[in-house]
Amino acid sequence: MTCSEFLALLDDLIDDSVSAETRSELQQHLRGCGHCEVTLNTTRKTIEIYRSHEIYDLPSDLRERLHAAIMARCKKGC
């Protein structure tokens, strides 16, 4: 397997949607390719960081204000 072929399957590997056979081919490639190993690990970390950090917080006072505005209009039939 080449690095390009590995990259084409990177998402499927990360999302755990590869067959056992493909997985074993990917793992075999990883054992001999430090670059693809770094790419895999840092891509996984990228996703994890975006998942676990709130970058657009909704402060509670703003949340309550928007919530009140939405519900007031819904009660009036919008």
């Binding site: 990259l7 770094v38 790419t39 840092t42 996703i47 909704l58 519900m71």
Partner: protein
Amino acid sequence: MATIQPIAGELEPHPDVALVERVRAGDVSAYDTLVRKYDRQVFRIAQHITQNREDAEDVMQDAFLKAYQKIDQFQGNSKFYTWLVRIAVNESLMRLRKRRTGKMVSIDEDIETDEGNVPRDLADWAPDPEQNYGQAELAEILRKTIQGLPQGFRIVFVLRDVEGLSTEETAETLGLSIPAVKSRLLRARLQLRERLSRYFRKKKRTRPAKLGETRNDK
């Protein structure tokens, strides 16, 4: 009015199904529960698309009002959340269009780029690289980095990886084919990885990169 029936053989119906039924029967408090359940997600998605806080506030209100008005059109063959996200994405794009005085805005714009398809920065990252930054600085890095992605990649990444929609739900929400979602997701992930490497790669010296050192990709 047809009631929403869970598909035979499926597990327990999603709790939103009962809430939607109550809203349809005129119970506004059930809608209150739905708004509280999903307001943060809708606000986040709107911010990612409009990249403007005031617009995101307007989008959040408009999306929830529109969903309330159209609740009878919700078929129940998708999740309420996915249906709501579709409304929020459309409202966000409309808001962008308004701000750009009618200029066409679509999720396809700016995607003609080859950047990041082949990893160039192959340096490994420090272990727990986010520990090198304070919370506010890290949030700023993450915001700047994702804002630099082409819109069509950014939306796919946000829906799929941040908000947890499946590939199929993302495709349905954005009106894209499944191969198109997969291709955009791969490119979005690789581009973000490449850009974050500037901050998170192992350093020869201990000083982490500062925000001002980022180069402008546009």
